[in-house]
Symmetry: C2
Subunit: 299 residues, 2 copies
């Protein structure tokens, strides 16, 4: 039975898009429920400017709480720059997700840096914090709103640049949820073929309903660590109405039925998702939480 | 480039679940838009008791209108019994979808017949209407709310019984949207292996978000005719909140990006879906119609 590691990124990518401000207690309550359902890796917050994303203003407090309460869970934090990594480190975080967009135009829009600036900053991070596990999220690697679909060669060159800096953990991100399964398979095979000694993840948005099919495409090509959000919460602040990430509970349901082991208790996770939806008003892409009867009698 | 034939079943499976009664003009308006987008096969209505499904009370009128206006489109009608086929025939229909559930308990609940009764009625239909193309929908072949997942052998025996009656067109139906891609692949391979001389379709519900991944699973195992509904309209009258069928526009988008030919103009189809949603209040599972910006600038 193949094991698939789910990385729950709802507390970062799901909640950061909410208009509603969650309290610290609401966040810890939801994290408790997810961990109790069996989540073993979680992107718990991001260390960004609280002016840019007020929802993440409690990052240090939340990270410290999580690390203390659940020493067996691997808590990631996202950081877009050196300052963010420094703050994460000081809060106790030792697993950092650093994001660079494969499209330079998108990188400038997203983190206000050129590629050279982002890579130089990454180098400084790697040198300053050798005890931190860095994974680099390659935003727009499966599609960019400004530059379209990057060529395989462009993505491979980008990976090579990361590899040459010493990065050994990376993830393909379909930032705008535009990729199709054939494309995901081709790119996944290409990166695993060239950089098979690295840890790989995927981060798939469900904008066009392809969250599950694209995540499965990556898994069946050899990636065994996948990101998703409870309830499929996410959306995109610049595309009103667009649905969010792949929903963790839908993903767990599919994978477990297929015979994969995720270590997650589906019923508990679904209960956590329904609980979240009961008071968090956001854009969800999950399906299961809407089913009132567990086994509909007939359609 | 592989060709995939989309069979739009929204006018039957999507609309039959609506609480809101659509007028004849609303129906023809939506059918016009779908045909103009390139839909070449459509399940246009069902010939059932208007007491059971009042939404389909205009079946004969709608079928006659469609057949007259679009002679190049293959219009299917669903019929659950001899009487339904007779009425469909008299309205001009020559392509009938007849449904039997693989689970006998579900068949009794759905069409109030034992297997023997349903098969006997099918035989009478085939003998009475040799000029009608009959496809048999095998409801619950991928999962039953009462009996669980049927064994491969049970489904193959069911197919054999149909085959022995002369049926050469069948479809696998995930009536309650519970199947996973591995299961779809195994069953698709098994039926194509044994009954490869038949025409095959799949009818996949998106109840748990697996509409696209399961439809693709069937396609990649060799089925080239797939059913879906505009907007993913559908739902299940007995499972409040459950989402509907695979959304035609999401399916077309994915398939065309993967290099399949569907003959459908995505933009026109998406416009039809958004138009439908503007006045039809139902349970949708489509994602694309919610995207306001066609290319979200950033996520």
């Amino acid at each position: 039975m193949d094991k698939i590691q789910i990385v729950e990124v709802g507390p970062r990518d799901g909640w950061q898009n909410l208009k509603q401000m969650l309290t610290f207690e609401q966040k810890t309550d939801l994290i408790d429920r997810m961990v109790q359902a069996g989540v073993k890796e979680m992107e718990v917050t991001s260390f960004v400017s609280p002016k840019a994303i007020p929802q993440m203003a409690d990052a240090a407090q939340l990270a410290a709480w999580a690390l203390e309460k659940y020493p067996d869970v691997k808590f990631w934090a996202l950081a877009p720059n050196f300052r963010g990594v420094e703050n994460a480190y000081n809060a106790g975080i030792r697993h950092v997700s650093y994001v660079i967009s494969v499209s330079e135009s998108h990188n400038k829009a997203n983190v206000r840096r050129t590629h050279d600036e982002s890579f130089a900053e990454l180098q400084r991070i790697l040198e300053t914090y050798p005890d931190v596990e860095i994974t680099v999220g390659m935003a727009t690697s499966l599609g960019c709103p400004f530059e379209g679909i990057p060529s395989k060669e462009k993505v491979l060159d980008f990976c090579q640049r990361l590899y040459d800096l010493g990065v050994r953990s990376m993830y393909l991100a379909d930032t705008i949820g535009i990729a199709d399964p054939r494309q995901v398979r081709e790119l996944t095979k290409a990166v695993l073929d060239r950089f098979g000694d690295c840890d790989w993840q995927v981060h798939i948005h469900d904008t066009r309903g392809m969250g599950l099919v694209n995540t499965l495409a990556a898994i069946e090509c050899g990636i065994n660590k996948v990101q998703s959000t409870l309830g499929g919460l996410g959306g995109c602040p610049f595309a009103p109405g667009a649905s969010g990430n792949t929903a963790t509970e839908d993903l767990v349901y599919m994978l477990q039925r297929m015979g994969y082991e995720t270590g997650i208790d589906f019923d508990k996770l679904l209960a956590a998702s329904k609980y979240q939806k009961s008071f968090v008003d956001g854009i969800y892409s999950g399906h299961q939480m809407n089913i009132e009867a567990k086994q509909p009698p007939c359609c």
